[in-house]
């Protein structure tokens, strides 16, 4: 916009430098709103507020899928068999080592809450499928166990656990 800085390179006049600096500062300051407007706007941020999910309708062995911030979240009510299977696995042998205990809330061990986005290239894995009774991603064959950890296939990491806490024994707040 402004080519205010002097075209004459031999005279470093303070005035020219000051004008050029002022124009540069103005340019950057003008640029900031033009970039910031692309960040999520206030209504998107408000819509991404934490949600509460009632766990009572989920029977043992069942799971539901809810959406938070546009992402699918699996909430699984695991059977004792599924919990034991998850805890028997030697942690060192996992591609992305993590204990099952670290992925659930203490005292609420049957509840697994994971973001249902495959860590390979982003498809939604199918629950209760695959060799580990966990999740199976149909796109490229990644398989997760009953703790949502990657066991087989090209995915590099476990299914992420979103921020959540138990509001009561039968209700969680995600986010």
């Amino acid at each position: 916009m402004t080519t205010a800085s002097s075209a004459d390179p031999t005279r470093r006049d303070f005035l020219f430098v000051a004008t050029g600096a002022a124009a540069a500062v103005g340019g950057v300051a003008t640029l900031w709103p033009l970039i910031s407007q692309m960040n999520p706007d206030a209504s998107t941020i408000a819509a991404g507020a934490p949600i509460e999910v009632d766990l009572t309708p989920i029977a043992s062995g069942q799971d539901i899928k809810v959406f938070w911030r546009g992402k699918p979240i699996y909430i699984m009510n695991r059977t004792k068999k599924q919990i034991d299977e998850a805890r028997e696995v030697p942690v060192a042998s996992l591609k992305d080592p993590a204990t099952d205990q670290s992925r659930v809330k203490e005292g609420h061990d049957q509840w697994l809450v994971v973001i249902g986005i495959c860590t390979h290239l982003g498809c939604i894995p199918i629950a209760h499928e695959g060799n580990y009774d966990g999740f199976f991603c149909p796109c490229h064959g990644s398989q997760y166990d009953t703790s949502g950890r990657i066991r087989q296939g090209p995915a590099p990491a476990n299914l992420p656990v979103p921020p959540y806490q138990f509001v009561s024994d039968s209700k969680i707040q995600i986010g």
Binding site: M1, T2, A4, S6, A22, G26, Q37, D41, A42
Partner: protein, 689 residues
């Protein structure tokens, strides 16, 4: 004028590019070494200003298009969402809307400069005609852009202008149907206007490239109207013209910033804050100010087709200027008669603009016809005549001589200015006298804490106003653009997040369908919007005698009243823009049990002193003692009216405080920058003088 460049880069990478695509040489020969006359005045900076404005409009427009929804039921809301929710959305919207006005102001100055100095004459005819094409494209773009917010004026302005084409014999109606994409202005029209509004600025950019190319072939005109002959007549574009343009741009930005930050709605129409209603026509359909002279010409001719032809001819006649004015002397500086008539022509255009905004009644019609005749007479009779009979004054031998000579002839401009002013003044006064007699139902001007450059909302007043809204107005009026979370936003009533959540939870919000397919009620959350008291418009009408109570979110921006001449000029400088809250407050306090003698109010309506027509369907909503305030403020109607109007000003513009605060920072910066650029310009030009 810009021949092959002598520019050769030293850097090997740049040399490699330059050999294959000599773009740096082109830029150098066109904007660095380019010889520009050394006697140019500041009227010549408007070319650069216009280039900057085009770039700015495209930039802000593309960004707005990231958030705007071009669909009839969502467009208005999406614009409000930009202003309220998008980061700096209010700034982007103000820049783009005010930018359109600034763009046209600059183009009119640019055109009048061309008229005065004979820039359309040989060899610059094609340059001039390309300019007329750019102007036409700008008018089309501006018109379609104004339709996009889908307000009342957007909709009805579009209806009026597209209906013009029905004047064409035989094919007129079919053309209009083709333009509309339906049987009336509707969603198809909006969609295609959005597409074309996005497209045309890039077409303009292309024609601008041709325009600058044509300019560089002949070289610039100059105030003396004498072509550059030797090197002594010119200076290289950089740094001389560059720094002068930069200074000009900076001054222009100051003026522009005044609109963006302090008077964003001054040039607009309050009616465009009302969502488009195909069933109700606004009392005065007025285009944006830059179309007003042509609107006046259109309405001056009693015949529909002739009016349309006259309006378009008023623009097309410009393209014929090089052949209408064949005087050998280029610049009006040396044409005493042409100079006086030029200024009269300027006044004619301004007066036509004024008339375009008046109702087509009485003396306005007569004045319009006279001035339309004057407008065409200037081009078709006067200029050709002057070419033959005028004896011009001697022009300087060269630009260099012009720079060295003293400027003379101060008396002549004053005489012509005096003549012009007398003509204008008499017309003005004539029309002012016959203007609608003031019955003094103008709402009184009240004191508002948020007025002026440092204005802020009084938090207590906002909170009291919210209480008045909730306990009184909310039973009939929705507030659908305000979400509960807005109560905790900075610059608002100052709720904390917890207080906003608690306030929201008192409301029952309809949600669903649930897994059984049924709708259900749940407590409100901060993300929810204030619920409407009625499920739909028909229910609202049925419960209120056929008149649906309007949504109040934008009411203080959607209502206004005439300030009259010369008040409206002072308002620009005093930043007066409180017509809305004055009006709302006046309405609330303007009920009278007995209408004055001779005034009858139909059944089902009530007399209100300030409501246009005096018969309002809303019964008196406020009485003393109706709402008690925790802070002990008086429980009077005047207090309620003041507080709820303040609250409604905030709901209409939640970011007002940020706008004024950032405006102050921008102004301080721009003043500093303008000062620095001024002294830099002086230093750079010291060597040229």
């Amino acid at each position: 004028m810009s021949g092959p460049s002598d520019y050769q880069p030293t850097n090997p990478a740049l040399k490699w590019i330059e050999r294959r695509l000599p773009i740096m040489g082109l830029a150098h020969s066109s904007f660095v070494a380019y010889p520009t006359p050394r006697n140019l005045n500041y009227w010549w900076t408007f070319g650069a200003i216009l280039s900057m404005m085009l770039a700015l409009q495209i930039l802000t427009g593309v960004i707005l298009a990231m958030h705007y929804t071009p669909e009839a039921t969502m467009a208005f809301k999406s614009v409000e969402a930009i202003v309220r929710d998008v980061n700096y959305g209010w700034l982007l919207r103000n820049m783009h809307a005010s930018g359109a006005s600034m763009f046209f102001l600059a183009v009119y100055i640019h055109m009048f400069r061309g008229l005065y100095y004979g820039s359309y004459k040989e060899p610059r005819e094609i340059l001039w005609i390309l300019g007329v094409i750019i102007y036409l494209l700008m008018m089309a773009t501006g018109f379609m852009g104004y339709v996009l917010p889908w307000g009342q004026m957007s909709f009805w302005g579009a209806t009026v202008i597209t209906n013009l084409f029905s004047a064409i014999p035989y094919v007129g109606e079919s053309i209009v149907t083709l333009l509309w994409g339906g049987y009336s202005i509707g969603n198809p029209t909006l969609n295609r206007f959005f597409s074309l509004h996005y497209l045309l600025p890039f077409v303009i950019a292309g024609v601008v490239v041709l325009h600058v190319w044509a300019l560089h072939v002949s070289g610039q005109n100059n105030p003396a109207g004498v072509e550059a002959k030797t090197e002594k007549d010119t200076v290289p574009f950089t740094p001389y013209a560059t720094i002068k343009d930069a200074f000009g741009i900076s001054c222009f930005m100051l003026f522009f910033a005044w609109f963006i930050f302090y008077m964003p709605n001054y040039l607009g129409d309050a009616d465009n804050y009302i969502p488009a209603n195909p069933g109700v026509t606004p009392t005065h359909i007025v285009p944006e100010w830059y179309y007003l002279p042509f609107y006046a010409i259109l309405r001056s001719i009693p015949n529909k087709l002739a009016g349309v032809i006259a309006m378009f001819s008023a623009i097309i006649v410009l393209a014929f200027l090089p052949w209408l004015d064949t005087a050998r002397t280029r610049s009006s500086k040396y044409r005493p008669l042409a100079k006086q008539f030029f200024w009269i022509f300027v006044i004619v255009c301004v007066l036509l603009g004024y008339l375009g905004a008046q109702p087509p009644e009485g003396i306005y019609v007569i004045a319009g016809r006279i001035l339309t005749f004057c407008y065409f007479a200037y081009f078709l009779i006067l200029l050709p005549l002057l070419s033959r009979i005028e004896t011009p004054r001697p022009t300087p031998n060269s630009i260099a001589d012009d720079v060295l000579a003293k400027s003379g002839g101060k008396a002549a401009p004053m005489v012509s200015a005096a003549i012009a002013l007398m003509v204008a003044g008499s017309l003005f006064l004539g029309s002012a006298q016959n203007a609608r007699a003031a019955e003094d139902d103008t709402p009184p001007s009240l004191k508002w804490s948020f007025s002026g450059p440092l204005g802020k909302f009084d938090r207590g007043s906002l909170q009291r106003g919210l209480k008045v809204y909730k306990e009184v107005c909310a039973s009939c009026h929705s507030l659908s653009y305000i979400a509960f979370r807005n109560l905790a936003d900075p610059g608002g009533p100052g709720f904390s997040e917890a207080q906003a959540a608690s306030f929201a939870s008192e409301y029952k919000i309809k949600d669903g369908p649930n897994d059984q397919g049924e709708m259900f009620d749940r407590p409100g959350r901060v993300a929810d919007y204030f619920p409407s008291p009625f499920p739909n418009e028909q229910a609202a009408r049925a419960a209120n005698g056929g008149a649906a109570p309007p949504d109040l979110s934008l009411i203080t921006k959607a209502r206004s009243y005439e300030r009259g001449f010369p008040k409206f000029i002072f308002d620009f400088f005093t930043q007066f823009q409180e017509q809305g809250p004055n009006y709302v407050s006046a309405i609330l306090q303007g009920f009278e049990d007995k209408p004055p003698a001779g005034v009858t109010v139909p059944d089902g309506s009530y007399y209100n002193k300030y409501f246009p027509g005096h018969a309002i369907k809303m019964p008196k909503p406020l009485s003393d003692g109706q709402v008690t305030f925790d802070d002990g403020s008086p429980a009077t109607v005047a207090q309620y009216a003041h507080d709820v109007s303040t609250f409604l000003m905030w709901t209409a513009e939640p970011h007002m405080e940020a706008r004024k605060r950032i405006g102050l920072q921008v102004f301080v910066f721009l003043i500093l920058l303008t000062g620095l650029l001024y002294f830099t310009k002086k230093k750079v030009w010291a060597s040229a003088h």
